[in-house]
Symmetry: C2
Subunit: 409 residues, 2 copies
């Protein structure tokens, strides 16, 4: 008998019929003798409906009051799911974030969980109840309702699993796991049976959005066993996100190919190569609230160097405008950039112990005539920036060259 | 400077635009220097939507979970109204029933208020805030969300006014006050500037539904000054419901003519006139969960009497079925009844000190050829049961004969 925390997203609970399906699944787990805590999101569309209503009343809704309104979405779902469970003869009780004492800071609309008082849940579990908890919400020290921001229900699930020392936290979504890459681009893409937290973080932040990134960090920090599963399939193992590299398992060098076409690149040419110059460039960018992703600076020649970085595509023009006066000030030769780029990354903890990943990658791209515009590497990934039009080709080539289309040994 | 509690019903907050209108009205009161606490209902239609959703999931929704779902309706409104107030530059904060500690018993879907901890509201008022509280809901000792039943927002308003010792509790609705009778039947019907609690109770229970009856009882018990006003008119005094007869004011003998066509009458003929016979008849009726309204028994002759009473029209057939075996058992002569009846009542505290009200009433009806089938009187009302087809005529005649169509002196 295990203690399982299950989280169901908005699509999984999007109608009365789907809520009944979730109830049947929960009842099966309960029927096997497990203790089950369920975290649910608002029914799909509900959060957007409430935001629209709020904006009709106040252009920029007051954050405290917006959280009071938004938290009702999950509150309706917990009630409905509990009814569906009771209808199946399963004892069930619902709790809002505030009732179960999910304590957060007071940063309305993007609060962070501070602590969870799990006593009430444990008491209900001991009495044979399934406990249904509203995701996405909590309460601050003064008793104000808070929300955790978009996708915050994942974080609620993981935080509850951590507080309860659950055996597993299952995230039910509309995909059946994490894939080696997007199957829409590479039909041969395979579902990974396991992936490490570090790989998951790189995959998630690079665009393979399955889980909210914060929930993955949270799971890694508190060593919660996290599993991604489909709520629309009866069976299936999904993908287990492990917090350690498992030596016993077949260890692929590369776990997946991630990609992203939301970025634009900026290059400042002929930058005087002296201490503090990077700050002089990126300081104003940060002050303008523009997030920078990759940063590349090569060794200089004759006291000059080129300095490149990427930003979100929406911030491209704003970045150029911000840097125009800076160029003159630091006496750089010029600035250019482009927003028709894509970032493609090979991710895998296996590359730590394998030389030559980068060169394999570069050779494969060269053989297809794909020019690499920027390169950035970390312990477990190699990323390249290329022309946007080659993105799908690059993903397919790299997926093949690293053997990701072969069934796991 | 006064402390005012205002309550706005579902129609008054039925859209973003209407919520903004309510905010402007609240802002005007606040602008005059008053402390204002606002109680709101769910947006019109929202409670029914939630009930329908719940029934889709569970035929008879679990009461605890139904309350968790239903309470979200008011929670959305408090957030939206607070936003609208903040948008007007008015400091405002919303509270759910649980946050403001409206403590109730644990009778889900029909809980009763036990106590209110008004400290938090007082602190906010002292800081110049308008406090917006969700009507219809509370929390029990264990922290479970409860609701007060249909129309419970009126009760929340009155209970808050009592707890805060407010100077006035204003109930905003879609009528501009309490009328001498229904203006749809008598165009000359006048709005009453004042009415006593006792009269209001008689008027409300007799069909002039403006306020939830429980809230009126509550207001009477805690001596809360209650005023009914229209939320769709800019000005207007509405009707003040007073807890004492005001000698200084022009005192009409009759305040209003109430009526009701929801009832059916049952007469048991030739009942042996002996002690305990009323119980033998009404005991089985009560056991069948049928509510009885008027009961009339005349003095008997030759050891026999006729025993009549009225029930809700929906319970008419059930009552006949219930009594069939009883008739035989008590050896009554027979039973008959009818559901094409109406009850018309003259209500007024003034009749206490005036003889002849009943006879004026009976003569006026007789002059129109209206036969009286049953009569029942209390300290402040005289009710007659007549054929349904004469109801409008009877109301108009009585409204005129008691001078209710004349402007108050």
């Amino acid at each position: 008998m295990a203690l399982i925390v299950q989280k169901y997203g908005g699509t999984s609970v999007g109608s009365a019929e789907r809520i009944k399906n979730v109830a049947r699944r929960v009842a099966r787990w309960k029927g096997k003798g497990h203790d089950v805590v369920v975290v649910v999101s608002a029914m799909s569309g509900e959060t957007n409906r409430l935001i629209a209503l709020a904006k009709e009343v106040q252009g920029t809704p007051d954050p405290r009051e917006l959280d009071v309104a938004l938290s009702t979405g999950e509150q309706v779902t917990i009630a409905l799911l509990s009814m569906a469970l009771i209808d199946l003869g399963v004892r069930a009780r619902s709790y809002t974030g505030g009732q179960v004492k999910i304590m957060t800071d007071s940063a309305f609309t993007k609060a962070r969980i501070v602590s969870i008082d799990e006593a009430r849940i444990r008491a209900d579990l001991a009495h044979g109840h399934v406990v249904v908890v509203a995701g996405f919400q909590g309460v601050d020290e003064a008793g104000n309702i808070t929300t955790l921001g978009r996708g915050g229900s994942d974080t609620t699930g993981v935080a509850l699993a951590a507080a309860l020392k659950a055996d597993e936290c299952q995230i039910y979504t509309d995909v059946d796991g994490v894939y080696t890459t997007d199957p829409r681009i590479v039909p041969e893409a395979r579902r990974l049976s396991t992936i490490t937290f570090e790989e998951m973080l790189e995959m998630a932040s690079l665009g393979s959005k399955v889980l909210q990134i914060r929930s993955v960090e949270f799971a890694g920090k508190y060593r919660v066993k996290l599993r991604v599963l489909s709520s629309f399939e009866e069976e299936g193992e999904g993908t287990l996100i492990t917090f350690e590299e498992d030596d016993k398992m077949e260890q692929a060098i590369i776990s997946g190919i991630a990609f992203n076409r939301d970025e634009a690149k900026i290059t400042i040419l002929g930058v005087p190569d002296r201490p503090g110059i990077a700050y002089q460039i990126l300081g104003p960018v940060g002050d303008a609230n523009i997030d920078v992703d990759m940063i590349v600076q090569n060794v200089g020649h004759d006291g000059l160097t080129d300095f490149s970085f990427t930003v979100h595509r929406n911030d491209y023009q704003k970045t150029l405008d911000t840097l125009k006066p800076v160029i003159a000030h630091i006496k750089a030769r010029g600035i250019h950039g482009g927003d028709k780029i894509a970032k493609v990354s090979a991710v895998g903890v296996g590359m730590r112990s394998h030389a030559g990943i980068a060169s394999t990658m570069f050779r494969a791209l060269a053989e297809e005539g794909i020019n690499i515009e920027m390169i950035s590497t970390s312990e477990i990934k190699v990323s390249v920036v290329i022309d946007e039009k080659y993105m799908e080709l690059a993903v397919r080539v790299l997926h093949k060259v690293f053997g990701l289309d072969q069934p796991a040994a």
